[in-house]
Symmetry: C2
Subunit: 422 residues, 2 copies
């Protein structure tokens, strides 16, 4: 196996300045070199020019047009890194008794940096270095809480179902190399860092978990959350590596608000989202890795629905680009063996509790998406829409308990018998 055969696609990254001309940190033209669509936003922005129509599309598709934060100095400083930075602001009415609780949230979507057959250490270090640069940008933009994509220290190798060398990427949540790498960044920039990694739990039989580590803004390990729902869908058959979390739905009470992490496939499960709300979350991150053919039609729906239903902010993060692996694997779909996973379509976005959302980041390029939010909007949305108040949690707790029983009898009404009068 030569390293060439395991090369990875840089096109979506190289495409940045080469075709963008002087549009610093702006959108690329519609079709990137990889022949992947840049984004539907880029198509619509290009083709719809009437102001009234643009406003209506934004209103219906995104809940309105958001203001922008001025981060030009950051975009300029990091321009040579070809990093796409977008920054929006969700406005929120002022209250009399509470002051605004403004927080800048940053989410990062990126690609791997070296081929997947490079030594494990080199693969991980190359990602540490790259994310370190993006964290410098987030720090310069005064981001308060930042979250990376799922299993950000590695390629998303679970499609291979091979254990070697991928299990070697697993590390201690509390004091592994990645957590230790991030602590100084958290302290330096006064930023809470959410770091989704592959965890090795040496205290419990060396088990592996899909985990998100939370480091507080003083650079201290705060705790961890684990993936609650494990997919068994085609290449996303991760059940061969780790099990469902048994540590619940922790909410982290940070200096910048109460946050939680719903990892990847958990976004398909409305009860998972709800449980974080019941534990008090104001922002829920959804670090993910998912490809176009599997999930792209669901992507704009699920994290946004969760924000609406639970009156909190959600941040949906997906990796971007393609990853090619050294050995062939099959996908459980009757097709031939192959070495690539498909296109990770990025499109990371942030939704407010009232359903407004940012445009998505690019489908083809790496990026940092920043939103300035006011946490007061969570309670305001709850007061306005009343979804929590009208939830009837007690009824559903009982009904779900009934439905778990082997002898559960669904509530079904059948047709009247023929002799019954019309």
């Amino acid at each position: 196996m030569t390293s060439r055969s395991a090369g990875f696609l840089l096109s979506q990254f190289v495409a940045g300045p080469a075709c963008c001309g002087d549009r610093a940190a702006g959108y690329c033209p519609i079709m990137a070199r990889s022949k992947q669509t840049e984004s539907i936003e880029s198509i619509i922005n290009e083709r719809v020019t009437d102001e009234t129509e643009i406003k209506e599309i934004n209103r219906i598709l995104y809940g309105g047009s958001l203001g922008k934060i001025d981060i030009d100095h950051v975009a300029t400083r990091f321009w040579h890194h070809k990093l796409n930075i977008e920054a929006y602001k969700f406005d929120c009415p002022e209250e009399q008794l509470r002051r605004p609780r403004l927080v800048r949230v940053g989410i990062i979507q990126n690609s791997i940096r070296v081929p997947t057959d490079a030594p494990v250490t080199r693969q991980m270090q190359s990602l540490h270095e790259w994310i370190g640069i993006i964290l410098d940008a987030a720090g310069a933009a005064n981001v308060n809480i930042v979250c990376m994509q799922e299993a950000w220290t590695m390629p998303f190798a679970f499609c291979t179902r091979e254990k070697v060398p991928w299990c070697e990427f697993a590390e201690s949540a509390q004091d592994g190399p990645t957590t230790n790498f991030l602590k100084p960044y958290a302290a330096k920039y006064n930023v809470v860092v959410v770091s989704p990694i592959l965890e090795r739990d040496s205290i419990h039989c060396d088990t592996i978990w899909n985990t998100a580590v939370v480091i507080d803004n003083h650079g201290r390990y705060m705790g961890k959350s684990r993936k609650n729902h494990i997919p068994r869908v085609g290449d996303f058959n991760e059940s061969t590596y780790y099990m469902e979390s048994q540590i619940g739905h922790p909410v982290f009470d940070t200096e910048f608000g109460k946050i939680a992490i719903n990892i990847c496939y958990g976004r398909h499960h409305p009860m998972n989202w709800l449980m974080y709300a019941l534990n008090g979350a104001e922002i829920v991150f959804n670090p993910s890795a998912t490809v176009d053919t599997l999930s792209e039609t669901m992507w704009p729906i699920e994290a946004r629905n969760a924000a609406i239903a639970n009156s909190y902010y959600t941040c949906a993060i997906n990796r971007v680009g393609s990853e090619q692996f050294p050995n062939e694997f099959t996908s459980g779909d009757g097709k031939s063996a192959h070495k690539t996973f498909g296109h990770f379509y990025g499109s990371s976005y942030i939704t407010a509790p009232d359903g407004r959302r940012t445009p998505g980041l690019s489908r083809t390029r790496e990026g940092l998406l920043i939103a300035e939010i006011d946490l007061n909007l969570c309670r305001q949305s709850r007061d306005h829409f009343g979804f929590a108040m009208t939830q009837r949690l007690d009824m559903y707790a009982r009904k779900f308990n009934d439905a778990c029983n082997e002898n559960f009898s669904p509530q079904v009404i059948t047709q009247p018998s023929d002799i019954q009068q019309n």
Copy 2:
């Protein structure tokens, strides 16, 4: 109070043929006379002409382009009624052991027909007559199951909080004038009719309920479902008229599949949607009445998310146009008293269990949306995505039960104390 002062807006209805020219049953130009946007689909269809771009927008926004059903003969026959009819087909892979279970679903969005200060009987009769015509169209198009909008026999008068004369629209579910009116249509066209009405329950102290009646395809009363979650949001303060349903989440095992009805505000509650799935629903109707300023940004999200999360079809139905009432009312938003509710934006749509959806009906015109679906796709989607299998229902039943307790202690991780080592 003269009938002029309580006139209702016909513009969105009259606009049909006047500005559509020879586009039978097709889209109107982008801005209807009411100055309301016709739909974002109409804008995009007008402005984006490149085939590749259209395909990408359809793929990302709707999960792909759907085939159309030929209902030209119906459109022609009902053209003089100025009824917009759209008909799509969701394809579905064939199986070896089960034959396709093809069903044609029809959903109706309409406006009221006479001013809201007309006699109750006249208001109701005018709607009976109009829906009778649309049922004739649905029958001619071989629809198997049809559902009307919420409280279809009346204006959505709950904003007024007045009891007179609105409570007089309430009628018996089993043998009230509306159910009796619909039974012959159901039998004649071999169609299951879902009829959301205001119900008067004379057996239980004359209470009023927000109810959906199901009439089977032989014209027999099959049963009823009631609204499980009652809004208290601005003009949607329906809690002065009726309470939350106590009759559960019934699923109706009809000859054309297992159906359920999640009425209006229940669409904001993921657990409500889930409960219908646990009871075996394959199609869930969401008859609604909602206006642009309140909910339009959430509308394309919630019923679609429910289809994805629960692996069933959902049909979101909204009324269309504006309704003006005889007396002033306030909306609990600090604004002056007024007589109109806002714009009911229609935009009814149907979603498949894999997340694909139809374009929405018009935001301004009445219409009948038909989709040919294969119920086999429900189980296929469950097998493919595994959402039910990975649901962990037992865990959530326990956790929700805990969360109901007054002494519930949320799972919160606080920052480490300052003396703890980094």
